[in-house]
Amino acid sequence: MKRINLFFIILVSALLLLTGFRVENEYYLGVAVLILIHAVNATAMNVLLGYTGIISMGQAAFFGIGAYTSAVLSVTYGINPIATLFAGAAIAFVLAYIVGFPILKLHGHYLAMATLGFGMIIYIFMNEMDFLTGGPSGFVGIGDIVIFGYDLMDEKTFFIAMSVFFVFFLLICELFDKSFLHNKLKFIKNSESACRSYGISPAKTKVLVFASMAALTAFNGGIYAFYTHFISPVSFSFKYSAELLAMATVGGLGYITGGVVGAVCLGLIPELFSTMEEYEMLVYGGVLAVVVMFFPGGISGTLKKLVKRDA
C-alpha cells in the first residue's frame, strides 16, 4: 500500500491557515471560498474523467440540483440546513443512478453529448419550474448554515468551516488515490474487457462512481446556496460544466491534485485580470486549448514529470 502524500495536504492546510489569519478583506475571503467550492467540484470531475474515463458534461446540473434542493427545502419547508445538504446529495445520487444505467453504456463523444443533453434538460427545468425555483430571476432569501450552534453568517466563519470540510475532503481523496480503488477505476478506464475477465463489472462500478460524484457535487451545491444566499439557473448552465472540465484538464487529469490545482489557477484568472474582465472566457478557452494541445498531463502531470527527471 502506498504512502499518503502528506506534503500536499499540509501545504494546502498551511495555505488555508495563512489565508484565514492574514486576509481580513471580505472580498478576498469570498474568492477563496468560491475557489474551494470549485476545487471540490473539479476534483469530482477529475475522478470521473481522469480516473474512470467518464466524460460528464452534466456536473453543473447536479451542482444545481443540490443548490435548489437546499434552497427549496430550507426556505419553503423550513427544514434544517444541514439536513437539506444530505437530502440534495441523496436526490442527486438516485437521479444519477437512474440516468447512469443507460447513459454509461456510451463512450467518448456520445457520452459527452448525452450527459450534456441531460444537463440541458435540468437547466431548462430550473428555468421553467418557477413555482418551485423562482425561474430565471433566481431564488432569494436563503438562510445561513448553523453548525454546532455557530451561525456561519460572515465570510470569515464560512471560510473556516469550508476549510475544515475541504481538508477532510482532501484527506479522503488522498486515501482514494493511494488505495486499490483508484487502480480499479483506471482499469475500467483503460480496458473494460480485461476488467470483465477479472471479475470486475465495469457497468456497475461506473454507475456507482457516477452517482457518488453526483452526490458529492450536489452536497457541494447546497453549501454554495447557503454561502451565496441567492441562486439562479445561470450558475448551473452548461458553461459551468465546461469550466469544471477546464479546471480538471488544466490541473491534470488522473492526478488527485489536478482538480485543486486547476481550480486555484483558473479561479484566480478573473481576479488577476480584473481590468480585462471582458476577456475572461477567452483566457479560459485559450488556456484549456494550450493545455490539451501541448501538456496532456496538465499542470500536475507536467510538474511530476519534471520532478522525476531531476531525481
Binding site: 453529448m113 448525452a114 440541458m120 434538460i121 421553467e128 465546461a242 484549456l288 490539451v292 496532456p296
Partner: protein, 287 residues
C-alpha cells in the same frame, strides 16, 4: 398543418447543421463541438456585409460562405492539427475549448445584443392547405435542400468524397494510397463550416443572431445527426426535418418554455434505445 410548415423550416436548418457533424465525423471521427459556432459566425458575417456595409446580396453571400469555409479550414489547422495526443477525450475537449474561444471572439466583435439581418426577399404569406407559410420559410427549405443535394453530388462524384470515406476507414491505408489526409481533413472541416454558414445566413433574418446562439443550434444539429444515424447522408437531413417537425408539434402540447428540452429528450432516448440512429446500420463490435 401549421406546425408542419414551421417544423420543416427549423428542421431544414437542423439538417444542414447535422450534415456538418456528419461530414466531420465520417472523415476524422471527431464530433465537432464548435459546429453551432460556425452557424453563428455565418449569421454574423452576413450581418456585417449585408446589413452594416450594405454590400449587395449577390456579393455578400459568396463572401460569407467563403469566409465560413476559411474559418472551418483554419479551425482544423489551428486546433485539431496541433492536438498532440489525439485521444477521443482530448479531441472533444479541444473542440470545446475552440467553441469557447470562437464565442468570445464573436462577443467582442459584434457585442452581446442580438443583431437583426435585413430580409433577403419581400415577406409575403403564402396560403397553403391548412395554414400559411411565409416566403422566408419557403426560401429556407428550398435552399437547404438544394445545398444538401449539391453536397451529395460533391461527395459522390468528386474524388474528395471517396477520399473522405477512405480516411475514416483507415487513415494509414488512405495515406499509402496517395490520399493527402491533411487536405481531406481541411476540406471536411471547411465544408462542414460552409454548410453551417449557409444555415446561419438562412435563419438570421428570422431569429436574429446572438453571440451565444451556437450552443443550442449546435446541440440540436447533433441531435438531428444522431436521430438519423451518423454516417448516413440523407439520414442526417431526414433527422433534421423529423426533429424540427417533432419540436413544433410538441410546442403545441406542452408549455413553450420546455420546447428546447424536447430535443434533448430525443437525444437521450435515441442514444439509449438505438445509438446508431433510426436509419443507421448496426456496426459490428469487436471484442
Amino acid at each position: 398543418m401549421q406546425f408542419l410548415y414551421s417544423g420543416l423550416t427549423s428542421g431544414s436548418i437542423y439538417g444542414l447543421v447535422a450534415l456538418g457533424f456528419n461530414i466531420i465525423y465520417n472523415t476524422t471521427g471527431i464530433i465537432n463541438f464548435a459546429q453551432g459556432e460556425f452557424v453563428m459566425f455565418g449569421g454574423m458575417l452576413i450581418y456585417t456585409f449585408f446589413t452594416i456595409f450594405h454590400v449587395p446580396f449577390a456579393i455578400a453571400l459568396p463572401v460569407t460562405v467563403l469566409g465560413s469555409f476559411i474559418i472551418g479550414a483554419l479551425f482544423e489547422r489551428i486546433f485539431v492539427n496541433f492536438c498532440k495526443y489525439k485521444t477521443e477525450i482530448n479531441l472533444f475537449t479541444i473542440t470545446l475549448a475552440a467553441s469557447i474561444i470562437l464565442r468570445d471572439v464573436a462577443m467582442h466583435a459584434w457585442g452581446r445584443d442580438s443583431v437583426k439581418v435585413d430580409d433577403y426577399i419581400p415577406i409575403a404569406n403564402l396560403k397553403m392547405p391548412g395554414g400559411v407559410i411565409s416566403s422566408q420559410s419557403v426560401l429556407i427549405i428550398i435552399v437547404s435542400l438544394l445545398v444538401a443535394w449539391g453536397l451529395n453530388l460533391f461527395l459522390k462524384r468528386s474524388k474528395y468524397g471517396k477520399a473522405m470515406r477512405a480516411c475514416f476507414d483507415d487513415q494509414t491505408a488512405a495515406e499509402t494510397c496517395g490520399i493527402s489526409v491533411r487536405n481531406v481533413r481541411i476540406i471536411a472541416f471547411g465544408v462542414a463550416s460552409f454548410m453551417a454558414g449557409v444555415a446561419g445566413v438562412l435563419i438570421s433574418p428570422i431569429t436574429f443572431v446572438t453571440y451565444d446562439d451556437g450552443i443550442m443550434i449546435g446541440l440540436k444539429g447533433f441531435c438531428a445527426a444522431i436521430l438519423g444515424g451518423m454516417g448516413n447522408f440523407w439520414a442526417a437531413v431526414a433527422g433534421g426535418l423529423m426533429l424540427g417537425i417533432f419540436e413544433s408539434f410538441s410546442a403545441s402540447i406542452i408549455p413553450s418554455g420546455y420546447k428546447d428540452a424536447m430535443a434533448f429528450f430525443v437525444i437521450l432516448l435515441i442514444l439509449f434505445v438505438k445509438p446508431d440512429g433510426l436509419f443507421g446500420k448496426k456496426r459490428a463490435h469487436r471484442v
